[in-house]
Every structure is written in structure tokens, then in C-alpha cells.
């Protein structure tokens, strides 16, 4: 497989190779961005999951400080530690109890992880193609350089 890609690339002209390299570089960057997005989303869900765990340890009626802004806190009591609202996206919120909410987080995390693994595979393939194109391009340019002199 690797060999055939290389052989195909040897046939291309310098301009075509440049275009191929640019195109694949663009795609690699795009995939890298997607991977970063998935990573941040996963950390956010993991944070939510640990916050849920934290919440489940508190007894009902527990006194606490609720952040209204980053620097303004008001005192409050924990009314019901078992019922939570989950933002599922597009403006919908679903009331869940603790195990359901944890299950939701775990499901989302595993979904993201499987997506991440698939993307990593695609990205590394693209990256190797782009590297290959770069190598062939450089070799061609080197060949052309003495001929021009």
C-alpha cells in the first residue's frame, strides 16, 4: 500500500505534488482541530461526572455557597441531591436522578472516546501521506536543481 502511494506520487509533476501536499496538510490540520475539540469535550464531561460524584456525597439540607458570578456567592441549602438537570443540547434539559446522570456522562465519554480513536487513525494516515508527498517533492526539487544550473 505504502509503495503504491509512493509510486503514484513519483509520477506527478512538481506542481501537482505541491497541490497534493497543501491539500493533505489542510486536512491534517482540520482533523487535528477536531481531535482537540473532542479532547476538550471529554475533559468537560469528566469534570461533570466528578462534580456529580461530589454532589452525591453531600447530605440533603447541606449548607453551601452558590456562585452567582465568578466573584459573588450567596448562601443556600442543598434541597435534593438526587435530582439533577442535564443539558442534552439544542436547549433541551432532562431531569435525571444520580445514577441516570452518571450513566449519561459515561455514555457520552465512551462515545467521544470511540470517535477519538477513529479520528486518530484517519489523521495518522493523512499525516503519513502528507509526509510522503513532502519527501517526494523534495527529492524532485533536488533532481531539478542541478539541471537548472
Amino acid at each position: 500500500m505504502e509503495k503504491t502511494v509512493r509510486a503514484e506520487m513519483e509520477k506527478l509533476s512538481v506542481e501537482q505534488l505541491k497541490a497534493v501536499k497543501e491539500q493533505t496538510d489542510l486536512e491534517v490540520n482540520l482533523l487535528q482541530d477536531s481531535l482537540n475539540n473532542i479532547r476538550t469535550a471529554t475533559t468537560r464531561l469528566e469534570l461533570a461526572s466528578s462534580a456529580l460524584h461530589d454532589l452525591s456525597l453531600r447530605p440533603q439540607g447541606k449548607k453551601m455557597l452558590v456562585p452567582l458570578t465568578a466573584s459573588l456567592y450567596v448562601p443556600g441549602t442543598l434541597q435534593d441531591p438526587d435530582q439533577v438537570l442535564v443539558d442534552v443540547g439544542t436547549g433541551y434539559f432532562i431531569e435525571k436522578n444520580m445514577p441516570q446522570a452518571k450513566d449519561y456522562c459515561d455514555r457520552k465519554i465512551s462515545l467521544l472516546k470511540s470517535n477519538f480513536e477513529q479520528l486518530v487513525e484517519v489523521a495518522s494516515k493523512k499525516k503519513s501521506i502528507s509526509d510522503e508527498a513532502g519527501l517526494v517533492l523534495q527529492a524532485k526539487l533536488k533532481q531539478l536543481a542541478p539541471a537548472a544550473q
Binding site: L85, V88, G89, T90, G91, Y92, F93, I94, E95
Partner: protein
Amino acid sequence: MGSSSALRELQRELETKTNDHSKIQKDISKNHQVRKKYTIQLGENELVLKELDLLSDDANVFKLIGPVLVKQDLAEARANVRKRIEYITAELKRLDATLQDMEEKQNSKKEAIFKIQQRIQSLQAGKAKA
């Protein structure tokens, strides 16, 4: 001189054709952007629908409208999300059709430009000989 005025004519034609071509290219990239937005929304809506379908019928569902959470009927919420998915898929299909149309136009424009360039070249070559 006949040939130079013909040349000017061709060059003017080439210019308008290239303008058209770049305009189509801009439209295509705009189409790509809109499509990307819709694809993201479609994915999000599908995830939401999956969650809603997993719920038991007595679950409480709320919708964020501006700054307030409004309680919603679960069946209604499901129907809403389904309708939205339908709408977005239809919209994506429509965008696909227009994109194909535009790509065809772009290719024909490219060909036309190429032909004019060839004619200009042959005219110039003829003039150089003369």
C-alpha cells in the same frame, strides 16, 4: 486593425468569464460553510433525539427559551426534535443539489475560459508571424 480589435474583444470576454468563475467559487465556499453548520446541527439534534428516546415516559423535560426553562411534554419534545431533523436533512439535500449545479457551472466556465485563452494565444502567434 481587425485582429487587434478581435483580440481586445476576446480579452474583455475572458475578463467577464473569470469574474463569473470567481463568483461561482465564492458561492461554492459559502455553500460549504452553510452545509458544515447544518451538519453540526443535525448531529447535535440526533444526539438529543437519542437521549429523549431513551427516557421513560414520566421523565421531566425542559426547554431553554431565552433565560427561562419551560417544562415540556416529552412526546412534544420528541416530535419537535424529529421535525427539526427532518427539516435539516431536507435543507442539506437542497444544498447538495445546488452545490452540484454550481460545480457543473464552474466546470463549464473553466472550459470556456480555457478556450478563450487558446484563441488569444493563437491570435497572438498569428500576429507575431505577420
